[in-house]
Symmetry: C2
Subunit: 144 residues, 2 copies
């Protein structure tokens, strides 16, 4: 099957403008044109596009994705490089997940305070302490 850019936009959830932008940025060297100069996407192109969105959705920069696609265009000889890229990216993703989880834990502690029955009291005390710290140092009190 051949798909127009509009059909691909619908299938991939990327906008037409984004697809053209990706092409301009060299992410879609595999997309051919028909006699009128229109982009003609094949099913194979859609599979590569799927890979691109996977990489993008996991936070890879367009510049790196372009490099990965360049390896793909190069053929089977670049398998080691692709393997290395994906393995490194995989580690980056997992590290980022851990970083987010650590921060989430901190936020959950804040939520515990807000959810506690003494929330108002705890907040009031903390605020009084922050005010006192300002006053003790001769600073203007931003809490009024």
């Amino acid at each position: 099957m051949i798909y127009t850019i509009k059909a691909v936009a619908e299938k991939t959830q990327l906008s037409i403008d984004t697809l053209r932008y990706y092409d301009k940025e060299g992410l879609l060297p595999f997309v051919s044109r028909n006699r009128s100069g229109y982009r003609a996407f094949t099913d194979g192109d859609l599979r590569l596009l799927k890979t691109i969105t996977c990489l993008k959705n996991t936070g890879m920069k367009l510049r790196e994705i372009r490099q990965y696609i360049a390896y793909v265009m190069q053929g089977p000889s670049s398998v080691p490089q692709r393997q290395a890229m994906l393995t490194a990216h995989r580690a980056t993703i997992l590290a980022e997940q851990q970083r987010v989880l650590a921060n989430l834990k901190e936020l959950d502690m804040k939520l515990d305070i807000y959810n506690s029955p003494q929330a108002t009291e705890l907040i009031t005390v903390e605020r009084a302490y922050a005010k006192a710290e300002k006053v003790a140092n001769g600073l203007q009190d931003p809490y009024q």
Copy 2:
């Protein structure tokens, strides 16, 4: 204790420019100035800054963080709003983690192929298929 912007930058891993940028954007209404107009950070300010970086590290936009801080400045009366914001943000974080994990699973399938002993063969076949698809549709073959 009172800290200069430089000391805070070192403690928080944010650059001095970023701290000033956050202040300009209204994220640091709690930071007071000394007689010379220099920012004077207290320990309480550092705790709030820690909250800000937690929110930022989990993907919250500066505009939302500003709103959260505005609630904090408002005092204990805004506890319900803060609770709502953090709870909603928590859900956003978890959803994003799931989204990333789903995409990671896809990438792992690609990696499985690259790691397989028949990697080169599999890639070669896939490429031949993609080429054939182009030719069959009278398109130029971008794989040479």
